[in-house]
Structures are given as C-alpha cells and as structure tokens.
C-alpha cells in the first residue's frame, strides 16, 4: 500500500500542479502568457497520464488484489485499490496516440468555437463537430461490451450510470416538467427589476463571502477570485478555491455563482485528509458534485428561511437600491421562472429541460439517429416543444455551450440534471433527520446542515 500511495501521490502532485496553472490562467495570467501556458498544461497532464497508466502501477494493483479481497468492501483499503484499478484500467485502455489525437482536436475545436460562436457560424463548426462525433464513437470502441456507445463516456464522469438508466430518469422528469413549465408560464412574471440596478462590486463581494463563511466555507483553506466562467478547483484538502464573476447591474452575480461554487468547494474541503494524494480525495462524480453546489445555491440560497436572515443584511448593505423593496418581492424576483434560451441563465424549473435536450441529442448522435448537420434545426424544434421558445441564432442555440466543442459528445451533460435530482434527495434526507434545519437557516446558522453533509457525503470523498 505504501508503494501504491507513493505512486499516486506523484500523479496527484502533477494533477494539482496542473490545476494551479489552470487557475492562474483563468484569473491573473497576463495575455502574453497564453501560448506557453497551454504547452505547460499539456506537458503536466501528459506526464501525469504516463505515470498513471504505467504498467508497473497495474502490476502493483494486481499484487494488492488480496488486500482488496480480504478487506471489507467499504473499507478505505479496499476502496483505494478498487477505485485506483478502475481508473487505471480505464486510462490504460486508451492508446497514447488516440489521447493525443483527441486532445489536439479538442484544442483546435475549442479555439475555432471561440471565434465561431460570436460570428454565429455553425457551418464553420460543423466539420469539427463531425470529427468530435467520430472520435467519441472511437472512444467508446476501446471499451467493448457496452450497451450503448455513450456508456463509456458517461462512466468517466458519473460512474455506475448508463445511457439507459439516465434516459429513464430523464424521461420521467421531462414528462413532469413540460406541463409544469407550461402552467407556470401562463402566469404573470414577477417583477425582477430590483435585481437589475447598479450594485457596488466590493459590497457584493463582501456580502456573498459573508454568506459562504457562514455556510462553512473555510477561507483559511481557500480563497475567491474573479474569472469569466466561474469554477471551483482543488490543489489539496488545505487549498480549495472558488472563482466567481461580476456583472454590472445584476445582483445575482457574483452572489449565486459564489454560493454554487462554495458548495463544490465545501465538498472538497470536507474530504478526509487520509485520502490526500489518491483518487479517493476527490468528490464522487459529476452528479454528486453538482448536487452539493445546487443544494447550497438553490435549496438553501433561494429559500425563504435563508432570506429571512440575510435580506435585512443585504438591504443594509444596499439601502439605496433595496430600501423600498419588500422581502417577498425580492424573494419572488430571485425565484422568477421564465422560459429562456440559454441554459446557464435558466431558473430551477426550466434548467433541467435544457440539460435533457443536450443529453438526448448526445445519445441520438452517437446512435447515428441525429446527424450533425441536422442539429440546429433539431435544437429549435425541441426547444419549441419543451419550452415554447425558439432561438433566432445558433449562437443562442446549439453553439451556446463549450462542452461539445471542448470535449467529447456524450458524458458531458447528464451530471447537471442528476445533480439537481440528488440535491433535493440529499436535502430531504437531511431535513428528515434534522427538522430544525430550516429554523437554523433562518437564524443564519448552517452548522447542522454542513455537519450532516460532512458526515454523510463530504468526508467520504470518492
């Protein structure tokens, strides 16, 4: 086990070093650093990959089979060997030439997308996307025996889920959501003009950092910086950072991105230090991770008890803008449900429909039932059916998300909706065990909820 942990520590040192370089790139790096940074990141990732797929690691894992078999399934020892083997075997199945081809293609595709999206040029992206689809199918072929070509791709981010199991859950969800959205949309929209005023950036930061400090995000083991697309990142259990963005005239940013990313970050801060430098040190899966961010962002951060405590404080911070806005008006504004075109701007009710559309299209493309050239029209058609809105441009349609242009087709989106589902399940379980939670939240206390999540989710890592 010592030798296994030494090898893994080296891999994780390289991966976390890459994470630092990525964080710097997204926050402070001057423009001139871009070219070299891409190369440095590629080198670190390549060496980490080489070391993680080293056949000697495979042999070591074979030697450790008895340890795994003699230890209880839920023990740290068995889990470490099992999860490492799973990830090692998956990584080792991909030939280095394929990894290099995929990586080179996605870099080129992403660079093209950053130009094509503002230019609304789907046709320019079509050859890239067709190549991505071909590479995604080839990816699946390295994992023979799968039921659906999306399965090996889903497995990467959401271990244990398959195209069929996700499809079943999503169909049910969609059947319930489409009529719900239609019904909500028939009603008058709450006025959210109170959110769209000029709010001083420093004041917004101070307020949202005060909130997440109360949640339990530890600033001694993290920090927040500005970026374009907010993310959370981990360099060790002692250093888990978040980033947020600031939008002029919108109280929702940085507030909700900060709450969202703090959920991811508290998960990673809460992982047992005993797993440091191993695959067990990271949050379980994309879906479970997203469940933690959405729980704090939505189930806590958009709830009445939360704003009972925080709204008077927010109003004190911005008396000019909010002095005449009642708490209920504010509460309705931040919970406004509206049929819209862009996933990342969508509210809690419509959000999952955007995700399910993308998931269904990933499966259809991999199955050969949807050609890349037909994607824009299929997008418009489906959006009309599910949400009753139609994008006028591909920029606000099929070109809006980076995922397919910066990765594979398949495995990219299911985690967002699975996370929403699980966030409600986790929150419900916490409330059943601790019915006092809403009362505590309305006093600005989050210790019971944070403690329950640490005990039942965070500390277990993967």
């Amino acid at each position: 086990m010592r030798r296994l942990r030494e090898r893994l520590a080296e891999v994780y040192d390289l991966r976390y070093a890459a994470a630092v370089l990525y964080w710097d790139q997204a926050t402070y790096m001057p423009p001139g650093g871009a070219a070299a940074r891409g190369r440095q990141l590629a080198t670190l990732r390549r060496i980490a990959h080489e070391k993680f797929t080293d056949p000697a690691l495979g042999e070591l894992l074979e030697e450790l089979r008895p340890v795994e078999e003699e230890s209880p399934y839920g023990s740290d020892e068995a889990a470490l060997v099992r999860v490492t083997r799973r990830e090692h075997e998956r990584a080792a199945r991909l030939p280095p030439e394929f990894v290099a081809e995929l990586s080179g293609h996605t870099s080129a595709s992403y660079a093209a997308w950053t130009r094509a999206r503002p230019a609304d040029d789907f046709e320019g992206m079509r050859p890239y996307l067709e190549k991505t689809l071909e590479l995604s199918r080839r990816y699946a072929e390295f994992f023979p025996g799968h039921e659906h070509p999306a399965d090996p791709l889903i497995e990467v981010s959401d271990h244990g889920m398959t195209a069929l199991s996700v499809r079943a859950a999503f169909s049910e969800l969609r059947e319930a959501l489409v009529p719900l959205v239609a019904e909500v949309s028939g009603r008058p929209l709450p006025d959210d003009s109170c959110l769209r005023q000029p709010f001083d950036e420093a004041g917004q930061f101070a307020f949202s950092e005060e909130v997440i400090r109360r949640f339990g995000y530890d600033f001694e083991r993290g920090r927040q910086d500005l970026t374009v697309h907010p993310f959370a990142t981990k360099f060790s259990t002692g250093d888990v950072r978040i980033t947020t963005r600031s939008r002029e005239n919108d109280l929702r940013s940085p507030l909700f991105p900060t709450l969202h990313e703090s959920g991811h970050a508290m998960f990673e801060q809460g992982v047992s230090g005993a797993y440091e430098g191993t695959p067990l040190s990271r949050g379980t899966s994309m879906g479970v991770h997203e469940s933690q961010s959405r729980l704090w962002e939505n189930l806590v951060g958009r709830s009445r008890p939360f704003w009972e405590f925080f709204y008077p404080r927010l109003r004190d911070a911005f008396p000019e803008q909010l002095g005449s806005v009642e708490q209920e008006e504010f509460y309705r504004a931040i919970n406004r449900v509206e049929r819209s075109l862009v996933r990342t701007d969508a509210d809690e009710v419509t959000y999952n429909l955007h995700v399910i559309l993308r998931f269904d299209f990933e499966l259809a493309m991999l199955e050969g039932n949807l050609a890349v050239r037909d994607l824009p029209e299929a997008w418009r058609e489906r959006l009309r059916k599910d949400l009753g809105v139609v994008p006028e441009t591909d920029r606000d349609g099929v070109l809006q998300d980076a995922h397919w242009f910066n990765g594979t087709i398949g495995g990219m989106f299911q985690g967002y909706a699975l996370g929403n589902i699980m966030s409600a399940q986790f929150f419900d379980a916490a409330l059943r065990e601790h019915p006092e939670i809403p009362g505590e939240v309305s006093s600005g206390e989050f210790g019971t909820l944070h403690g329950w999540l640490t005990e039942n989710v965070y500390r277990h890592g993967k």
Copy 2:
C-alpha cells in the same frame, strides 16, 4: 537539434510550472495550502531534475558535438549545445541521494531559521549550519580538480568566476570602500523624514507602476503582486512577473523594490523568443542579472535626471506629504548614506561591504579557517572594522539573511556585489554610446537605454 529542443521544452515546462506554484505560494495561497504545496514543488523539481539528467540527453548531446564544433562559437546552435551540456553534466554529477539529502536538510534548516531568527537563537541554528557546511564541502567534492571548494558553488550562479577572481575584485573594492564610508560617515546625515510619512498604498502602487511602464516593463506580458520578500519570476517570455512589498510610512517601499524587480523582469522579457524552452532563455548569471536590477533601481532610479521628471509627478500624487519638500531635499533623502546593520536596508555605498563580508566568510568556512561557532563574533568584529557598527543581536547579525539557512555555504552572495560593479560598467558603456540618455531620462524617456540594453544584454539570454 529537434529532439534536443523537445527534451528541453519538457524540462522547462516542468521548471516553469514549479515557478508558477512558487509564485502562487508567495502571493495568494491560503495558509492551509502550505504542506501540500511543498510536496508538489518537490515533485515537479525532482521530475525536472530526472529528465534533465537522463543519460539519453547526455547521448544526444554527444551526437550533437559535430554540430557544435562546426558552428561558430557565438552561434545559437553552438551555444545551445554548449550551455546545455555544461548544465547537464553539472546536474548529472550530483547523485540523486545527495540532492535529496541537501534538499531535505535545507528545508529543515529553513523552517528552523524562521523560528530561530525572531528568537535570536544562533546556538539553535549552529548544528544546522555545521551540517550545511559539511554538505557544501561534499558538494564541491563531486567536482574534482577545483582550485577552491567554493568554485563549484560559485559556478552554479556565476559561470566563469572563481573564488580567487572574485576575491581579487572584492579586495580592491573593499580597500576603496572602507575609507570612503568612514569619510562619508563623518559628515552630517541628510534629513530623510520626508520619506517616513504615511503614504496611501494605492497611490504608491500607481506611481511605481507608471515609472516601470515608462522604463519598458510590458504589463501585457507581466504583472505585479504583493509579497513578503520581493522577487521577479518567469513562466515564459510572454509572462514575466514581479512582486513587491508595501511598508507603512516608508515611501521607499514599494517604489525601489518595484524598480529593482522590473530590471530583472525586463531582462527576461527581452530574451529572444527563439530561445524559449531552452537554457538560453534565462538571464546569464546571478551577477549579470543583478546588474540589470541595480542599474534601473540605483543608476537610473536614484539619479537627478530621473527625479527631475518624476519628482513633480510624485509631489502631485502626494501633495500633503511632499508639498513643502524641495526636490534637492528629496534627492538627498533617497541617497542618504548611513552605516547600518542590515544588508537589505543598506545604501549604495555601504551595501557592497555587507556582501564582501559574507563572501569572505563563505570562503573561510569552506577552507576550514572559520568555524561555525566563531561566526557571530567574527561577524561583529568585521562589521566594526569595515563599517564601525556592531549588531547587538545575532538576529541583526549572522542570522539576518536566509541564504545560508536555505541553501549552501558558498556561491550565495558574490552575485550581489558583482552585479553592482557590472551595473556601473553597463551603464557607462550605454552612456558612452548614447550621451543623450541622461537628457532623455530627465524627460521621462527611456527608449534609448532600454533599446541599448535589449540589443547588448537582454536579447542574448544566456
């Protein structure tokens, strides 16, 4: 050559990645990140060392001997093979176990020093320093044939210099400086109270960044952040950053640290892009590097022409503090010469005596002519003789600099004084070719000087 450059690019990607991690550690890293960061840095440096000392690189360099021999000495091709071979052979001579022992010892020693210095506890540091001396002697033994045990250590930072050549230069300098200091010290001290007032930090930053922008430091390929011990660092030719510190009630900080580090950084920004990812991409030696920082800090930044342009601007920025201070009074204040105890606070005249003391003691310790236990008394004695002052504590004496507690004894200090000497030589050469430089400086123009340095120093890298 292509294969050589590929191997070197990988090594430099790892080294620059380590530099990013170090920069982050010294600027933004939260306290909780320290333990893992130390490990991550050690891993990156170890892998870079392994790859740079790989025997396959040695074989490749042998294959390239004909290229080197057939190319002119000053050509890029010959220089690349020659410098790479020199550094490869030097690194390859050190057994990995020795590198690990030295690295482990210096980490422990540095950690102990950070506690022993505030406690003024030389006796606590003595065993560490004795071990450091032993390791420094063993270091030298891996390079048989040297004239003096300091030579292999000096070679690392100041290629081509030896203990004897440096000693000769320093003796001459010291003989001239000691009477000069005595003479200056007999005169009344200029009043520098105008510098010791409360100056708004943001205003100081804005002013010093405006100065270095005019010098030619490119903020598109760099940035400045706050730290404790200022340094310049390079992640690529397109990303060369500086750090500075801010002191309450002292106009000299961040101003002079910023000017100093900008000199290092302009050197690195000015290296030809053709050398990227090779040993040629870094500034020549510690001495030459220091000559560039001291040139901008002292020969430009403390000169009359410089302040003719900038003093009215500085006074506009701080009218309350400087409104009644005449330019000449200010000029004399920032050029005040004073016998003092601490090297990093010393003025231009006394500074080199602090450095020469350390250099002489390094040689004497390596020769066995000065025992570690006699160091504090020798320090006091020498300082009394050279500067006429005596530290009351070891904290302000032998414990003041981190170098011996965080590296070897030998090779650590000569570059500072060599840099001062060369800064005057380079500046003099520039002025002989361009007598218009002082006039330009007094108009806030630095293009001719920056251009001359780029042409004659910067672009050549190593």
